[in-house]
Amino acid sequence: MPDWSSGTERLILESVDSTMAEAARRAVAGAAGPLWIMAREQVAARGRRGRVWENPVGNFAATLLMRPPESPVQAGLRSFTAALALYDALAGLSGRADLLTLKWPNDVLLAGGKVAGILLESAGQGGAMSHLAIGFGVNLAAAPPPEALEAGAFAPVSVLEATGVRVAPEVLLDALAAAFDGWEQRLAAYGFAPVRRAWLARAARLGETITARMARETLTGIFETVDETGALVLSTRDGRRVIPAADVFF
């Protein structure tokens, strides 16, 4: 369990528009962080690039607001610590590490389905980061209906249906905050290398063919590795490609 008295704050709301919006308001208002904001209900939950995020009651919704000291280049590395922390928390609570894998850069898959979404937003200026918000949505009790899905998206799955284990949101918050803190400390002490190694050890489809859809092109190739900056490395027919932003499918 995390030591909530050690400086990391926790706020649990009954209802909010979205925990990301609440974090942005508190960042502007000067919250020092780290601050976890959890909501039992989000009435305007959202995903990446404005996608709707379905958030049935009993599921987990929380945002961690922090003010990392580094440049925004480092912000994206939290995609990996966040995914590892959620993987570890869910593995511990469900006892089913065998069903969990990671998809680049921050998707946690349970029994091959999408069990969670992680969204990171940073703000900064002139090479400095003013704040970073990491949003977690986890299908603990229920997966959204299939009609809410975009074509080609991973089938949603819930922790309850895939493992039979019912996890309360507050319980996941404790486990996730503790796990994230552990990965954050490793990142601070040893840099990205141990985070990268741990992520690759849990990765789905490493060495196999995957597809990366970018804003302007779609590439298919062998998932070779994740490089030292966190970028996806694909070996394609036209050579090796290093990809900093894409949606991955397989």
């Binding site: 280049v73 994206g76 590395l77 992680i118 937003e121 200026q125 002139g126 970028a231 900093p244 932003a245």
Partner: protein
């Protein structure tokens, strides 16, 4: 290979030019290899004299097997390289540019807009992290040098705000 690669190569060269200027260097030479048939040889140089700084560039060979050095003399480095303009806002990272907060919404800013210091100009996504890039100064958006969905290299000029 593709237009995209050439654009990223241009952005890379522009980033080198910016490094050159910022660190007061006279020359940077880089050879980069990304596997078979994909190599880039660049030499960026400038005169340290008060005369306008020419930028000599060995044109990137993608996918040509070897770079043929071609000196491109320009009357003013700033004219050909927006990164050298005083109002340039450059990319702090490698990623994908988004000019709108979300698809289907108006752009953060358009040419001619007055912006405040700290106002969000665009988003660069890397590793699923949406990084809001804000204006380093109050002023007017003079030029937008990137398109929505285009790749940005480290140090590449994004907008001119004066």
């Amino acid at each position: 290979m593709t237009k995209e690669i050439r654009e990223s190569d241009v952005a890379f060269i522009e980033a080198l030019a910016e490094l050159l200027r910022r660190n007061d260097l006279s020359e940077i030479e880089v050879q980069r290899d990304y596997g078979k048939d994909d190599c880039l040889n660049v030499r960026v140089a400038r005169q340290m004299a008060p005369a306008p700084a020419p930028v000599a560039v060995a044109v990137p060979a993608t996918p040509a097997p070897a770079a043929q050095p071609v000196a491109v003399g320009t009357p003013s480095a700033a004219e050909s390289d927006p990164a050298l303009l005083p109002g340039a806002v450059t990319s702090p990272m490698v990623g994908t540019v988004y000019l709108q907060p979300e698809p289907g919404t108006p752009a953060f800013v358009k040419v001619g807009d007055q912006v405040k210091e700290g106002q969000t100009l665009l988003i660069i996504e890397a590793m699923k992290t949406m990084n809001q890039i804000s204006s380093p100064r109050a002023g007017t958006v003079k030029r937008i040098l990137v398109e929505d969905g285009s790749p940005a290299e480290y140090g590449a000029p994004l907008m001119i705000v004066e």
